[in-house]
């Protein structure tokens, strides 16, 4: 809109009009809360797509770090040297890439569904005078919340399960020491597990916002008549 050549007066008039349609943050938050809790079942399904992806990712990262701990343990006890670290490294990267892919597909799929099944609602909101950016804002907030919640629980469950598994093998102390161990070597830099886990958390939230952004933006841009026609 701003890029169109317009006279000064026209510009000013447009800005005045735009500022006359508002959606206060308090109401945005209230609507997001209602959307999440009233459709609680749906929200859980959406979040579980993210949950599963991030749980898998963090389990893989944890497993990789714990394997290193175990390896050093074995080495120090038996005095054996050198397993093929290059091969192990390649396998870990492959696993991480796969789990990221699974996470992305899961997240994109659940966000896409949760937006498209609400096309009609989006069309209605536009009929009531909502600006495109209100719609986008509502979905960003909702997906960010669901993304954070899903990633957080996913991380807790993923690492928790792996901690329990490795605690059974090598004791709680060693299992917990995996947190400081390298989980991945990327371009010569060792990434400690706790950094990997935090990055995973952020990736989960970021991916879910990105995945919601595109369909929400597209739905917001649709002529209301087309959005209203869609049935789900």
């Amino acid at each position: 809109m701003a890029s169109e050549p317009q006279s000064q007066a026209g510009q000013a008039g447009r800005i005045v009009i735009e500022s006359q349609i508002v959606l206060p943050w308090s109401r945005t938050l209230q609507m997001t809360r209602e959307n999440i809790f009233v459709r609680f079942g749906r929200s859980v399904i959406t979040a579980s797509g993210i949950f599963l992806g991030i749980a898998f990712l963090s389990a893989v990262l944890f497993g990789s770090a714990a394997a290193r701990v175990q390896e050093t343990l074995v080495k120090s006890q038996v005095g054996l040297i050198s397993t093929d670290t290059a091969e192990m490294q390649a396998r870990t990267i492959w696993l991480v890439a796969m789990s990221l892919l699974v996470a992305t597909v899961g997240i994109v799929n659940s966000m896409l569904m949760s937006v498209t099944e609400r096309y009609k609602e989006i069309g209605t909101m536009k009929c009531l005078g909502a600006l495109d950016r209100f719609i986008v804002r509502l979905f960003i907030l909702e997906s960010a919340l669901l993304g954070m919640l899903g990633s957080l629980t996913g991380t807790i469950v993923g690492t928790g399960a792996m901690t329990a598994v490795y605690a059974g093998r090598m004791g709680w102390g060693h299992a917990l020491s995996s947190w400081k161990e390298t989980c991945l070597v990327l371009g010569g830099t060792s990434v400690p597990l706790w950094v990997g886990i935090i990055v995973g958390l952020l990736v989960g939230s970021f991916l879910s916002v990105c995945a919601a952004l595109y369909p929400a933006w597209r739905a917001a841009k649709m002529p209301p008549a087309a959005a209203l026609r869609s049935e789900f």
Partner: protein, 249 residues
């Protein structure tokens, strides 16, 4: 009543056209419609399914863009409006009512009614006061905290009417407002729309094939194959309604 210049027109369409391409065929859903709608009248756009009345309705309401031709609302060419100006128009000037009610499912009746007022910048308190008042006007004062799923079809449509009236629009656009309702409830909704039309001087434009609507209409526009077949004035309608009432019994 004889000359057209007596009336003030709130909506005017000029050579309005909507073309859909289906495969290699062009279908003209609306084909060159010129319609002038008077301020404050109750006008029904009648026609069978697929006649193009909903498409015409959507273009009048700024919900869809015409392929050709123009729609003027209060002498403003809708095609010239930016997205936010259109939103402003939808928010303040037009109230929409749909066949499927289209209430926001997660919100209570009152929240649904106040939403357009929030968009229009009213404070929460003012919006709540007005929302309660509007719900009372449509006879749902007691139901304000109910969710749409807890309301019957007729009640949902009443909420939708209250919501359409939220920002005191000049026009109410009703697309098959009685399409999903039984005979009795449909009649009540039509009566309510007429009441609002008279009390608030709001122009009601309804697209419908419900013949009950003829009773209250000031004018009826008959649409067939995307073209206006004929426009009937109140005086001509009375005669027909008499015949129809006879047929019904």
């Amino acid at each position: 009543m004889t000359t057209a210049s007596v009336y003030e027109y709130i909506v005017r369409t000029k050579d309005l056209m909507k073309v859909y391409t289906m495969g290699d065929q062009e279908v003209r859903a609306v084909d060159g419609v010129a319609l002038d709608i008077r301020r404050g009248e109750y006008i029904s756009i009648m026609g069978p399914s697929g006649s193009g009345k909903s498409t015409l309705f959507n273009m009048i309401g700024g919900l869809d863009k015409p392929s050709h031709g123009t729609v003027f609302i209060d002498e403003t060419d809708m095609a010239q409006l930016t997205a936010s100006e259109l939103a402003y128009l939808r928010c303040r000037k037009i109230g929409y009512i749909f066949q499927t009610f289209n209430l926001i499912p997660v919100m209570t009746a009152l929240e649904n009614v106040t939403l357009p007022m929030i968009f229009a910048g009213l404070s929460t308190d003012d919006a709540l006061d007005k929302g309660v008042e509007l719900l009372r006007t449509v006879g749902l004062g007691e139901r304000r905290d109910h969710k749409p799923t807890e309301l019957s079809g007729g009640q949902q449509q009443r909420v939708a009417i209250a919501r359409a009236l939220a920002n005191d629009p000049a026009i109410i656009l009703a697309d098959e407002p009685t399409g999903n309702l039984d005979l009795k409830t449909g009649k009540e909704i039509i009566a309510l729309l007429k009441e609002m039309n008279e009390a608030k001087k709001v122009t009601v434009i309804s697209a419908t094939h419900d013949l009950k609507m003829i009773d209250v209409s000031d004018r009826v526009v008959w649409i067939r194959d995307g073209k206006i077949e004929r426009i009937q004035e109140r005086a001509d309608i009375d005669l027909q309604v008499g015949q129809m009432a006879g047929e019904e019994q």
